[in-house]
């Protein structure tokens, strides 16, 4: 009777801890709006359940033995426990059970991988939206099939297979929007891809760079907009180059916020980097191209600036200049290219 109570109590304690943990925000990865993210979510819970079971049993045994076999005050000093050196049968049992459980888990997880990788079916060929993602210190650039560009904000249509092609022009980064799916690295010299299909529309913040990429790693964030098919078509059409003047300025504004402002401030007031407001380099096309493709002060530290615009097209240089010229805080006084 007392033994039963002890066993139940010992089980109840870790079990209660597990149950309490279930109510904590963030106890599981987000359920997400994509098939692949939901599969990850499912795999997590299956593995978690198995881990929780083992946790409860191990901690219960530990607690029960701590309580049951504590030395009591009235026991003689030299008293020893029974001199048990082991038991081969028990060893075999507790070697086999974890091995079998882990094998089962491995088979299950590997069987679920195709749903995580979410490679678009061949029947969907031609309907897959392919987006070129370029990671640079310290922002994300998305380029769509019609040439439209967005910075630090991804736009995708709902119910469509999407493939992101991930590249980096400088150091290793990792693309991660937890509400969409898992992460995938963008490594220089490598082309990676990640597939997903969103089944609900929505606006998702909290996309980040997962791999440490330098000074402003913390500021390398991205939003994701999952739009209806019509909204997405509209967005694509609005952003298809050649852009009209005000659209160029609007694009330049997001470009400034993504590529420049994290170090130099939204109004060019300076921050980690020096103030840029009124700097003529910002509106001199050749000088601007040189500094964004080559960086600056490569041998000095501090004073180092990474090549934030390596691979920028002429249009990208011009959109940035257009924005700077339109912004009275940033534009040089009476200056022009």
């Amino acid at each position: 009777m007392r033994r039963t109570v002890l066993v139940l109590l010992a089980l109840a304690l870790p079990a209660a801890a597990v149950v309490a943990a279930l109510f904590l925000p963030g106890i599981a990865p987000p359920r997400t709006v994509t098939d692949s993210g939901r599969t990850i979510h499912e795999i997590y819970w299956v593995t978690f359940a198995l881990a929780a079971l083992v946790f409860i049993l191990v901690e219960a045994a530990l607690l029960a033995f701590i309580f049951r076999f504590r030395r009591r005050r009235d026991m003689p000093d030299g008293l020893e426990g029974p001199q048990i050196h082991g038991n081969t049968r028990v060893e075999i049992i507790w070697t086999t059970i974890p091995a079998v459980l882990l094998l089962a888990l491995a088979i299950y997880a590997i069987a679920r991988v195709p749903d995580v990788e979410a490679t678009p079916p061949s029947s969907a060929a031609g309907e897959v939206l392919e987006i070129e993602v370029t990671a640079r210190q310290f922002y994300w650039q998305y380029e769509y099939p019609n040439g439209a560009i967005s910075y630090d904000a991804l736009y995708v249509p709902v119910d469509t297979h999407v493939t992101l092609f991930l590249r980096s022009t400088d150091v290793a980064h990792s693309w991660w929007v937890p509400d969409l799916s898992g992460k995938r690295d963008a490594i220089p010299g490598r082309l990676n891809r990640i597939n997903f299909r969103a089944t609900e529309t929505g606006f998702f913040e909290h996309g980040v760079c997962g791999e440490f990429c330098g000074t402003q790693h913390a500021r390398m964030t991205t939003d994701a907009h999952v739009l209806s098919a019509e909204e997405f078509e509209q967005w694509l059409a609005d952003n298809e180059p050649p852009l009209e003047d005000d659209a160029t300025v609007a694009l330049g504004e997001t470009q400034w916020a993504a590529a420049c402002a994290k170090c130099h401030g939204l109004a060019g007031e300076g921050g980690y980097g020096p103030p840029l407001a009124g700097n003529t380099t910002l509106v001199t096309e050749d000088a601007l191209r040189q500094i964004v493709t080559e960086g600056q002060d490569l041998d000095a530290n501090p004073g180092y600036m990474p090549p934030v615009g390596r691979g920028w097209t002429d249009e990208q240089i011009r959109s940035l200049i257009a924005y700077v010229e339109s912004n009275p805080d940033l534009a040089p006084q009476g200056g022009s290219r």
């Binding site: 426990g81 507790w94 491995a106 991988v113 990792s174 490594i187 490569l298 530290n301």
Partner: protein, 544 residues
């Protein structure tokens, strides 16, 4: 022909006497062990201060307590310090002190090589700490220093980091050779492989892993140095190199390193639990072979650190399965320890308390390890605070708890005095609370989307609350560590004196005096089992 006088009869040259010089010139394994342990613990305090600064910065959203670059240098050097200057050398210290005593030897096989490893380690540590004062500050590309980021910044600190790693690596490799030669050749008569203490088994595995894994790190950082300073491009994709190659080389070292850091702590637990349960270890062979099993499997799992690199799925699956396979021998150890408690006479002294803490919390780290080895889930967890939590449950909940257990357990042997039990119990409970508070919530903040190594964040709510709790946890741990420090210092000077064997333990180090004489033993009792000292006690009892 004249014969040399015996070494002992030679007059000691005056230059290596005295309280300072005798330590500077010592080749005694015990003194070298103490030097290692004390130095490593000082580096632990420095690494801890870095952690405190990191946590203060992350206490609130959008904090500007320290700058971006300072933060990046701090987390880089926190990891580097704790791994290369604390855990690996402090284990070398315990190994140095204990292995010759445990196997009934008079010293390590190569005493002067042994001294050299300590001074190289110290030099490496001074280079790494000194790099904070270099132009541009210390290295700031993370403890694994992935190129191109570690190539990109032109700061001297990164080159000093490479130099520091080289120095500590040479120390560890030479030390590993010394351990292996000692364990293979200098065991007391009768001490067969199935009778050596399990801590010695663990040091054997630690040494073999160091020998196998460290050269990969040495090669990787050497090539990195060449890329930085000699214009080569081994890891630079723009010029035909491969950034991923470095990752393979680094983790080929980096994952065995985890087991290098945990196996000796497991060995300590396997020594301590039987003594405080008054029972033999349950399944000696199972634990010894699981040590070898873990060491072997740990060489085959490195790419689970690279699940998101975009390796082929079959390769990820392979490394997931090998990673799972490490869990089996690890589980065997946990089960055998718990079985050792079964029907024991448990005495809840500090050494046992910390061992029980290790079982409780390393289990959590091990289980979250299964979760992240399930690579589809790792796509979410990778490089997030979930990993930070997992890794600290393994290295703090595992290794640090083991080290605290070992520190209290062998304190009377090393100093000849007993520590203060009441302070030690306070230390245990405070560290238990502080440790869990610091790292448990990091699991959740990671899955909410916090990547590791960010100097700031802009989210409030539970995201910020978790970070705040985590920071408060580090303050509780600080109090606990200060109690430990105070206990060690005060008890070393004023603790009650103890005899050779205050715990009624099983292994040979307790046959020597406390502290042991310079030559350790004048005689060694016959070894007929894995518990020669208990055998001796039993024989004495029978003769009465």
């Amino acid at each position: 022909m004249a014969v040399d006088a015996p070494t002992a009869a030679r007059p000691r040259p005056a230059w290596n006497e005295g309280p300072v010089l005798s330590w500077l010139t010592t080749t005694d394994h015990k003194r070298i062990g103490i030097l290692y342990i004390v130095t490593a613990f000082l580096f632990f305090l420095l690494g801890g201060v870095m952690a405190l600064l990191i946590r203060i910065q992350l206490m609130r959203a959008d904090s500007d307590f320290i700058t971006e670059d300072t933060y990046n240098a701090l987390f880089t050097m926190h990891g580097t310090t704790m791994i290369f200057l604390f855990i690996v050398p402090v284990l070398a210290g315990f190994g140095n002190y204990l292995v010759p005593l445990m196997i009934g030897a008079q010293d390590m096989a190569f005493p002067r090589l042994n001294a050299m490893t300590y001074w190289l380690f110290l030099a490496g540590g001074l280079v790494l700490m000194g790099s904070f004062f270099a132009p541009g500050g210390a290295a700031k590309s993370g403890w694994y220093a992935y190129p191109p980021i570690s190539w990109q910044y032109p700061n001297v600190g990164q080159d000093l980091w490479i130099l520091g790693i080289h120095l500590t690596t040479i120390a560890s490799i030479a030390g590993a050779i010394n351990f292996i030669v000692t364990i293979h050749n200098m065991r007391a008569p009768g001490m067969t492989w199935m009778r050596i203490p399990l801590f010695t088994w663990a040091i054997e595995a630690y040494s073999v892993l160091l020998l196998l894994a460290l050269p990969a790190l040495t090669a990787a950082v050497t090539l990195l140095l060449l890329d930085r300073q000699a214009g080569t491009s081994f890891f630079l994709p723009d010029e035909g190199g491969s950034a991923v190659l470095y990752q393979h080389m680094f983790w080929f070292f980096g994952h065995p390193e985890v087991y290098i850091m945990i196996l000796p702590a497991f060995g300590m637990v396997s020594e301590i639990i039987p003594v405080f349960s008054r029972k033999p270890i349950f399944g000696y062979k199972a634990i010894a072979f699981s040590t070898i099993g873990i060491a072997f499997a740990s060489m085959l799992v490195w790419a689970h650190h690279m699940f998101t690199v975009g390796l082929p799925t079959w390769l990820n699956a392979f490394f997931a399965v090998t990673s799972f396979s490490v869990a089996v021998p690890t589980a065997i150890k946990i089960f055998n320890w718990i079985a050792t408690l079964w029907r024991g006479q448990l005495q809840f002294k500090a050494p046992l308390m910390f061992c029980l803490g290790l079982i409780a919390f390393f289990t959590m780290g091990g289980l979250s390890g299964i979760l992240v080895a399930t690579f589809p889930f790792d796509y979410q967890a990778h490089d997030s605070y979930y990993i930070v939590a997992h890794m600290h449950y393994v290295l703090f909940g595992g290794t640090a708890f083991g080290l605290f257990a070992g520190s209290y357990y062998w304190f009377p042997k090393i100093t000849g005095r007993m520590y203060n039990e009441r302070l030690a119990q306070w230390h245990f409970w405070l560290i238990l609370i502080g440790f869990n508070m610091t790292f448990f919530f990091q699991h959740m903040v990671g899955l909410l989307g916090m990547p590791r190594r960010v100097y700031t964040y802009s989210r409030g709510g539970s995201f910020e609350l978790y970070n705040l709790l985590s920071t408060i946890g580090t303050w509780i741990m600080t109090v606990a560590i200060l109690l430990f420090l105070w206990n060690m210092i005060r008890s070393w000077r004023t603790g009650p004196r103890v005899g050779p064997d205050p715990w009624k333990a099983d292994t040979l180090e307790w046959y020597a005096d406390s502290p042991p004489a310079p030559h350790n033993f004048t005689s060694v009792p016959p070894v007929t089992s894995a518990r020669p000292l208990r055998d001796l006690r039993m024989r004495i009892k029978e003769q009465r």
